[in-house]
Every structure is written in C-alpha cells, then in structure tokens.
Symmetry: C2
Subunit: 428 residues, 2 copies
C-alpha cells in the first residue's frame, strides 16, 4: 500500500456531501480496489456554519477555494462548486498551477473553457477528469475515451437533461400543457435557478459539447451547437407524435459529416419503440455509434447525490490507480478545430402550422413547400372551433436549408397566425 | 511517442481478423488516442494457407500459439482461440511466464481457471484483460471495475447470450414452438458446435461468473451458479407471460445476500415494459445496481466481428496507455471465497402444470402448495381437448426452498403428466 491519495473538496452541496459520504462509508472497499487509501484532507464551501448532516471537523476548512486548491496536503482538487467562470475556474487554474490533478462535475466551465484548461493541465503534467459533468452516474466519458477507443465514432446522441425529459413525459402521461408541467417541475425544485439552462437546452448543450470533443477529437465547441429548447412543444405535438409512433425528446446529436461537425440539441421525434423513445422521467440515455461496435446504449440516473458522486469517485479511483489521460482523450494540442455545419444530412421533419380558416390557405402552404423542394409524406388538418386550424405535416427527407426557406416563406403569408413548429425526425 | 506496443494475435477467426482489421485501418487514430503506435508483429492459427481476406504476410507466422506467446517481439499476447483448456490456456500461461500481458475473449477459460491465471499474472507483474469475454461490444468490465469503483455493487443482471434471446423473441414474434426456432437458429449458424453451451445457459453462465467476481470481489465460481437452460420454455409460457405483462428472458442474476453469494442463470419473467423486457433479438443487456449509482443499464451487440474486436481493442488501448489493474478489479489473493446460496431471497414464481382431467386434481395441487407455505396470487385453467389441461399459477413471494418442496410433492401425485415448469419473476 502506497501513500494515501488526498482529496480537497470544494463545494459541499448535494454532490460534495455525496462524495464525502462515499469516501467515509466505503474506505475499505476503495482501498481494496485501488491499492491506496483515499482520504479527504480539506474542504471548502461558502457557509462554514451550516449543518450538512455529517461531522466535517476532521477536515481543514478553507473559506477560499483557491487556497484549498493550493494546499500542500491536497493531491486532487475536487471541484463541485459549478459556474462557468468565477471561483470554480480560478480555483481549477490555481490547482493545476500548483501541480494538482482536478476532478470536476462542471460542464459549463469545461464546455466554455475546456480547451484552455486542458492545455494548462497538460503543460503542467496534470489531468482533468469530468465523468460527473455528463449524464450523471452513467460512465459515458470512460466508455467513449477508453472502452470504445478502438472505434471511429460515427454518431453520439443523448437525452441528457432529466428535467426536460420529465416535463415531456409528464405532459404525455398526464395530458397536461407545457406551462402547467413547467410550474410543477419548478415547485418540485427540479429546475435550475435560471430555468432557461434546463428548458432552453443550454445545460444539455454543455454536455453535448464535451461528448463531441472526446468522440471526434475536436476542440470543445459549445458555440457551434444549434440549440433549441422545449418551450414551444405543445401537448398536441406530443399527441400527434404518439399517434404516428413517435415520442418527442430533447435530443443531443453530434456527428461528423462531409461538411464538418454537426452538433444539435433540439426537440426531435424518435420512434416510440426505440430505447430513446422508451425513456421516461428524469433518466438519461446516451447512444454511441462506432464503426466497429455498431451501437452501444447507456442508461442511468442523470442527476442526484448518489449517482453524481459515484461518477466523481470513479474519476478519483482512476487517479488512485495511476490511470492518467489527456482531458479530452488525446492531447489538447492535437484536437482539431472542425468547422461546424447545420443539419447537413437530410431528414424527415414534423411541422405544425396554425392555419387561418380561409379558402386556399392549405393550397398556399403546399405550394410554398413544393417550391422549396420539400415534399409532403403525410398531412392532417383538424376540426376546430377557433379561427386557426392546426395542420400537421410530415415531410419526406429534406435538407434543413430547404425547410428553413419554406418556413420563412410560410411565415410571410397571411394564412398562418403563429410561427410554424418544425421538429426533426431522428433515425435512431 | 514512445516505442510501439507490439501484439501477437493467436486465433484468426472472426474476432481475430476483426482485430487485425482495426489495427490496420485505425492506426493513426489509435496512436493519437494512446500516444503509442499499436502494431501486430506475429500471428498464429491452425491453417496457415487459408485465405482470410487480408494480406497477413507482414506478420511472422507461428503454428504454435505457445511459441507466439513467448516471442521477444511480442508485448501483449492476444488470445482469441477459445476453449477452457488446451492451447488457449497453455499459451496464456506461457505468455504470463514470459512476461507478456494478455488480452483474451475467452470466457470459459477465465470462468474455470480465472483465479489461478490471475494469481500467476500478478506474481509475474503482468495483467490479464477480458472485456471481450462478457457481453461482446459492451464495455461492462470497465464500467464495473472502473466507472463504478466507488460503489458497493448490490446486484448485477444480464441477458448475455444473444442466441437464446433470439430464440425466445422469435418464438414470441412468430408464434413458433421452441424446436422450430432452435432448428432455424442452427440453420442460420447462430449456435455453438455444442448447442447446449448456448441454450443450456453455460456460455452465459461463464460470463456471469466473471461479472460476479468483479462486482463482489469474490473468486470466480462457475460451479456455484444455478444454471437452467431455455429448452423447456413452451410457446404457451411465452404467451401467458405476455398476457400478464411479462417477457421471458434467459437472465443471469448475481447478488450478495445474508447467506452468501447468489448466482443464477435461468429463464425468468421480467416486466415487458422494462429495458430487459424490451430487449429483442441478439442484443445483450447488463443491468448494474450500486449503493450510490442506483441503476445503470448497458445495451449493445453481444457478438460479431466488429463489436467483439472493439472490446479487445479497448483493452489493448488501455495497455498502450499504461493502465494496469488486477484481473478481477482487486488483487487475486484478496478475492473472497463467498459461500454460494440458492435463491435465498423470496420472489414470486410462474408455474405451468399439465394436469390430468380428474375430479379433485386442482384441489390436490392447491393443497400441496398451501402445505408448503406457497400462496397463490393468480391461477388459470385452460379449455383443452386432450387429457391433460394446462394450469398456470402465479405465486405470491415465496422461497425457492418452499417452492421446490411443493414441486417435488406435485410430481409425486397422480394428477400431473409432466414435471411442472417453474420460472422466477424477477423484479428489475
């Protein structure tokens, strides 16, 4: 048995206390598995006086996370504060500069500053691990960088925001409108302080940026992601999708195309019978496709104390075992800057239009779609009591460019009362 | 870039040629990810003259795998011959003795001789990796030993024989009897030369023994597994299960109980709406439950050239990166010899009896069950034209001991014409 691996834990919220709990509860197991004792020497959080349910008096307390990161008795700085800038980034940089390895759950920081932090880590001969930043307890980073290292990855997809999936499945199961379920989720404490991070697809977008980077060997490019939230999904979209054998999911998709790297985080229709379609509630799922392995599906809790702490401890155990790897799976200086491209590959789309009840209205829409080269597979117009009738269209495969041209032209007509809703039908 | 990692590949069947193909096709990618060139220096197979579709003339040829394992220009011995004893074991031992690391897909060899091989490897300072031995392309060994290293594992379950799952789902979807589908699977080349390895649950049992060992830190104990094949599953069992909202799967389950380690590989009923219940065809699935992570589900191809070679290459890349770990996740000498126990935890069971059409027959069965303390949840007797009527019973939770007592007593009566079929209903 060599010297212990000493952790400094910054951030003692749900996840931080989960890590403290595992380190204490499973000390013998961790030592048996890694060949080293894993200990916590110091901690840091905003409020030193708060009762967190466990006695923390055995650990040195640092009110400043930067000071924690620089302590001589800390080998690994465990960053669980969150926030893309500010104390989390300052302390991470301080830890690397002081020669510490870093384990973090901070998706925003890495999605935005991942490249510069990775370069800094590699220059210092240190590593940054972030299994807990993507898909909670699911070891997806490890699966991509290590388990599937022999594969050229062709596509990565995932439902990675449990709150959005909860809202969408609850709308379907209870037949409730978005606004009602959003309010429910807020009351249950499921939403971030800024709910746009969840329902706007930003949190999931951060995760997709990290997955893309390790899957394709590219510089993390959050700005290159086409992001669309779930706010405009109506209960009738969900019902119509179900009628046609689909479910609507906030789905992240990253794939390499001839024109560059395509990254999308947007509501999509997926077959109801597929693993993604069957995913209920707050559970996450990541689908990885590679040239050799074909398709691997990983499913598990995307958040919560135990699962997220499990992911953090997986990283810590790797470090205790001496497993060291470049942050994004290969040296940061070798990551490519791939041009980003928008939905280069054609796909079928689902459209919902609010059409005025005027003679020739439908003909006008059909003509516009035809002029843009968008061909109609199925169309339904519904009986209605109001002035605007819902019209649902499923197109044949079309490019997003052609579709956008048609949608812009439709919006300019005098026969629709609201911007059309357009959802991609993803083949999974 | 350090020196190349040099592989010697023994066995050039489907998987072996898949490995050769990846090493050649993805040379640049592998080097970028691991920081080392990965090369093949020598190969071995029974028939040197056979056309395998790729030019192998650049590699030294050894007709004897032991000689291959001992070559000075081989760092990693890749054993893809199969067979629990014989050349595979001889060459693996020779490789370890000669100071080589070993990567193998050989579940039978490790399930039977894993402990002694692991001890030999550790004494020699070498490692044995076997991701490809369990669940094909799914990185389940890595997930258990590394990703979930912070967890006390509470249960591992899996559908790990694609042929059995193909047979069971094909029976259900096509409404065909076991014998017909077995013949189909044989004609399609899905079955091992000795089909009992597949349909008798032995192949899947080998995999379960390996999963149990790494999940629970125990000596691999294939003999401790309660194994039952799918040969007695009738189409009516599948139909009845479906009627009640279940599917029948050949399911491996390992869990620690107060009385010891329980390992079962047997047909079970699982909820049709669960990920296990929804698994179709030859796909594999492993469900891992831990005290922190709750539940992780992994799904992917359980066999085939690309997926299995992908798993082999994941192990090879780990070795190239310098990741070295004890064979079963912790030193072999620290693995416990847990007593094996048979279905210690109570569960509900599905029973099918072929009951003679005699007055009082059903009463006799009900009385026997009651006397053994097995209480009936649901019972159905079917209309029939023959002398024996199918009777289906779902019990409340009962111990296997009580159930076995009742089944033995039922067999001794004069009212059944065949041994009862009893399938556990697993909560997943």
């Amino acid at each position: 048995m060599t010297t212990p691996l000493r952790l400094g834990v910054a951030g003692l919220g749900t996840v931080g206390m989960g890590v403290v709990s595992i380190v204490r509860r499973q000390a013998a197991l961790l030592a048996a598995r890694t060949g080293r004792d894993i200990t916590i020497t110091a901690v840091s959080a905003r409020d030193a006086g708060k009762d967190r349910g466990l006695d923390l008096s055995a650990y040195a307390w640092e009110s400043d996370p930067v000071a924690l990161a620089q302590r001589d008795d800390v080998d690994v700085f465990v960053e669980l504060m969150g926030g893309e800038d500010g104390p989390a980034k300052d302390a991470t940089e301080a830890a690397l500069a002081a020669g510490k390895d870093v384990v973090t759950a901070n998706k925003a920081m890495l999605a935005i500053h991942g490249q510069s932090l990775a370069e800094m880590a590699e220059a210092a001969g240190r590593v940054i691990r972030f299994e807990a930043a993507v898909a909670g307890g699911i070891p997806v980073i490890k699966t991509l960088t290590e388990g599937l290292a022999g594969n050229e990855i062709t596509r990565v997809m995932g439902v990675m925001n449990g709150t959005c999936n909860y809202i969408l499945t609850r709308m379907e199961n209870a037949g409730l409108p978005y606004e009602t379920v959003f309010k429910e989720a807020d009351d249950l404490g499921y939403l971030e302080a800024d709910p746009t991070l969840d329902v706007g697809g930003i949190d999931a977008g951060h995760k997709l940026a990290l997955l893309s980077s390790i899957a394709f060997g590219t510089v993390p490019d959050f700005d290159g992601i086409e992001i669309e939230g779930i706010q405009r999904i109506a209960i009738e979209d969900i019902r119509q999708a179900a009628d046609m054998g689909y479910r609507i999911k906030l789905l992240g998709v990253a794939q390499r195309t001839g024109r560059g790297l395509e990254q999308r985080m947007q509501p999509c229709l997926v077959p109801a019978s597929s693993p993604l379609g069957q995913l209920e509630g707050g559970t996450n799922m990541v689908v990885i496709e590679g040239d050799a392995v074909e398709q691997i599906v990983l499913r598990g809790p995307g958040a919560g104390q135990g699962p997220t702490a499990s992911a953090v401890m997986g990283d810590v155990c790797d470090l205790a075992r001496g497993f060291r790897m470049a942050t994004f799976g290969q040296p940061a200086t070798t990551l490519q800057s791939a041009p980003s491209t928008r939905a280069a590959l054609p796909a079928p789309y689902y459209l919902r239009l609010a059409l005025l009840d005027k003679p020739g209205a439908l003909a006008k829409i059909a003509a516009i779609l035809g002029n843009s080269g968008v061909s109609i597979d199925r169309m339904r117009q519904y009986a209605h009591s109001e002035t605007a009738a819902p019209v649902l269209i499923v197109t044949h495969k079309t490019t997003r460019t052609a579709l956008d041209e048609a949608l812009a032209a439709i919006e300019k007509t005098d026969v629709v009362v609201a911007p059309p809703v357009a959802l991609r039908i993803e083949s999974v």
